[in-house]
Symmetry: C3
Subunit: 405 residues, 3 copies
């Protein structure tokens, strides 16, 4: 009976000739009798049993609240939807995969992943579309799986998503990714100047990467030629998104031709304990002959009180979903120190240190409650380019309810 | 054979080990052999047979046209998409439900429901995210199931959706809901002032609630502390959405600290006939010491010529989908009188009465055509805060084609 | 065994009584035991075996890059997401179909198809909502299936999508479509003036329409009463979307009451070779007594080096998806000459000729790479209404990566 079970489950959900016929004549005809595997864990996954075609429909809702223990400046207690994302992923003709992801949290349609890739030449993957440039472990890890509510301060230097083409190579211990990119989907140079472009590359090495034990080392480099406006601006909030105050702000650096990026990454997982840290630097080449250089770093430690491990995905060289061991979920305590310095010579963008204490309750694989306490320490230039008082030292309490499906 | 049928239908659509394995190790492992029930009635429903996981994908399209028999002011005949909504709902790990709903009708991404809830402690449900504050029978009933094309004038006083947390308790005859909320997802106080917040609560009692016979009584109260700008504005169109003229408009009431809301509801269904009415009041507390108070009410009657009943859902204390008895659909005639008075003391926001006659043809459960005739009677202060002529008395004819799936 | 296969595949994916019961009492009850056919080719199709209900979920990603060999004006090299579209289609109660389609490529929610239709009276179809007015073969053909990356210059004169009602009749060789429309979903007259409205109609005749051989002839006419602002403006880019320069631009033609449209279409497919051409004209009726008249035309030829044929869909009188014959995909070479003249009398909107050479690689049915070279020849009035230099003759190279699922 068990055998029959399995046979049937593989055999029966098939596409009928009647329906499929008008769409499938000669050529590289998909077999109309293709069997399917269908699964829901809140979202939906449909896969042909031969794995050649698939569709996955899902999304996420992140609802946040923040209370600011203000020091010199008003920051504005409040609530927001941090993410409200719809995701479609799939596979076509065995050799192609795609992802389609849009975020609606702020009432607009903020395009996230929108790309497809050819992955038939193992272990290569070639991508085209709008996706994350290969730079920074924390940037590449989905916000769903991050230990803290917001990425660390130096993330302002990471390039994030752009439109481009990329290649990814993934070996037993080593991964390498590189790409050539235009600007982000919604950037457009004024007055019909040319768009900027950039190249990014990342090399990682994992001496070991087991279920509950891993060591990750990485280095990344990038170069970006700015668009014809030749302006660049680095500015960032403290590690809290509800306020709009961006203490650190270089203002527009005009006559800027290009940016060179450098990043170093490391992560170590041993049982319930993990460490992770990054350092990154952006050097701006200006027509004025100066080269303002900004850098930042963070170091974080996390400990699962309930015994789980952070899950390192070696092939993608980033972290993945936490799976609670108990039916009461998983509990994680964590701390992070991060620092970003946007001062260099005459550029007084400010410098800030953020210390964050975090507590996460993974109720199940898809629902998580988070609490962060952030202690901000700004220097005398951290004045939002003159808009607020400097040397502000607020404390922030923020909460998140997260579901992804 | 029938038995085999059923056995197979329960057994065969299962998730394969091969596929599920990499996603499902130890812990509160969802059974990879979980059987599914899949259904389409235009949209898609996928549910595990144990009911622990599910996904529902659907949406709605509402296309409207309006012709204005103008009196003193131009209102602008025209057409619009009133709703164009995508909906995802689901259940996770038996105990959690979520809803994800965005409206694209006006070319932006207007976030509607975006929440998840824990509903494992019967008869409680605890919600977090962006959802409707518990206030007003008509506001809580989906626009798909409303008798008229637009909600009644006093709906301007109802709080609608905000980001917050809520609890819902549902007994045999009584329901109680309450919540604590920040502002709506896209509201943000200027200049980093604190967001507003509010509490809402609703208590309903249904002495009887059967298939074709129900009596509903309810009372709701709310309090809202305004954000740091301390401004509030009540303004509303006549019961027609295509025009942009908001005859009733208090203008910005500055130095306003808070609003107290009170609402009374009643509905009676007996066979094809039903009555429904509400009264609600908003009292504004101002720093000036005054307390401008606005109120409105409506009363509506509906009669299904084809014998159907409005469907009262006792557990949610609101109305649901109409199911035509005949294959030619259901025909409903209805009338509503509504009134809103935004005048109080020195505040001259205007007062208006709208009489609406409506005819609905429910072609089937998911498609409906609607026609409304609205007779508007504005007082001498109903001048859109000075922008249009007062004492306007236009007549409006409007039509809707609605599908939801 | 084969028989068992088929029996089971038809029988087993059924809806359970348990689940369906609370949603399905008397009336036009959908059978809860309805069998389903489920299919994925990257997207998802779910259909009841009786064909009465269905849902199709899909989308598309189009990523473009353009390099401008500039002549007199800067055009701005760059990249963009050209389309990022989510699509839901379905059937309800056998007799109704709907389509729900939104594009997110530019960071907003640009509504595309949003309509439903009654198609139970063969061969009629009656539609309501937001859909394409019946005018122009190229406009009505999905961008996914067009031979070139952008529609030809005269497409500026075609009405595109509006909110309205329409009827479509489709016989053996002849199709006829007509509709009455308001404005596009996001148009709204200023100052509460009335919206514009229009009628469009299209008649096509296919003396033969076989798998690899077809002849299509068509004529279309339209009339549009402009809204109360009485302004119309025709302006268009060269056949490239990344630049924002619209060389051809009549400026706002004020005191314009209405537009009369006329279009002629032809297409001929014989094996791998095809020709297609259109001519269209817009005549503006102005209160000034003048009748500025603009027209344009294009002619294109396409040749499948790998032997496929363009697929003419006789019932819809437009072109459909290409199905590669080989597993290495299909290769198509094509050329188009197009011309649009927006000069008439005192209106000097400019005139332009674009010659395009195109090469398409259909890797499979759903993935396509495109390359276009466009040679632009503008006249002395093609100055973007005074914003750029006239008589510009740039050459454009543009590339597209396209997936639809």
């Amino acid at each position: 009976m068990k055998t029959l079970y399995v046979l049937l489950s593989l055999a029966t959900i098939s596409t009928s000739v009647a329906l499929a016929a008008p769409e499938m004549p000669a050529g590289d005809t998909p077999d109309p009798y293709r069997d399917l595997v269908i699964k829901t864990e809140g979202g939906l996954e449909v896969t042909t049993t031969d794995g050649e075609f698939s569709l996955e429909l899902g999304g996420r809702i992140l609802a946040d609240a923040a209370i600011y223990d203000e020091d010199k400046n008003a920051l504005g207690n409040g609530s927001e939807l941090r993410d409200l994302r719809l995701d479609l992923e799939g596979r076509l003709y065995a050799d192609f995969i795609y992802e389609f992801s849009v975020d609606f949290a702020d009432g607009e349609a903020d395009v996230k992943d929108a790309w497809f890739a050819y992955d038939a030449v193992y272990p290569w993957k070639f991508s085209v579309g709008h996706f994350k440039e290969p730079f920074s472990l924390e940037e590449l890890t989905s916000k769903r799986y991050l230990t803290f509510m917001e990425r660390a301060l130096p993330n302002e230097l990471a390039p994030g998503r752009s439109i481009g083409i990329g290649a990814h190579w993934s070996g037993q211990r080593v991964t390498f990714a590189a790409g050539f990119f235009g600007d982000d989907y919604n950037d457009d140079a004024d007055d019909e100047g040319d768009e900027g472009w950039g190249i990014s590359s990342r090399l990682t090495f994992a001496p070991w990467a087991e279920e509950r034990s891993a060591l990750h080392l990485g280095v990344a480099a990038g170069f970006r030629r700015l668009d014809d406006e030749e302006e660049v601006r680095f500015d960032t909030r403290p590690e809290s998104h509800i306020t709009d105050i961006r203490y650190l702000d270089t203002g527009k650096l005009e006559q800027s031709r290009s940016i060179a990026l450098l990043g170093l990454e490391g992560a170590w997982v041993t049982g319930p304990f993990s460490l992770q840290g990054e350092w990154m630097q952006a050097k701006v080449e200006r027509d004025t002959g100066t080269e303002p250089t900004f850098d930042g770093w963070y170091l974080q430690a996390s400990w699962f009180l309930t015994g789980e491990s952070r899950r390192y995905k070696q092939d993608a060289a980033k972290f993945g979903r936490i799976r609670p061991l108990s039916e009461h979920g998983a509990l994680e305590a964590a701390a992070r120190f991060s620092s970003l310095d946007l001062n260099d010579g005459e550029i007084e963008g400010g410098s800030s240190d953020n210390l964050t204490l975090g507590l996460n309750w993974y109720i199940n694989r898809q629902i998580r409650l988070m609490a962060n306490a952030i202690f901000v320490d700004n220097d005398r230039f951290a004045d939002a380019d003159g808009d607020v008082e400097a040397e502000d030292e607020p404390t922030i309490i923020q909460l998140r309810a997260q579901v992804d499906f």
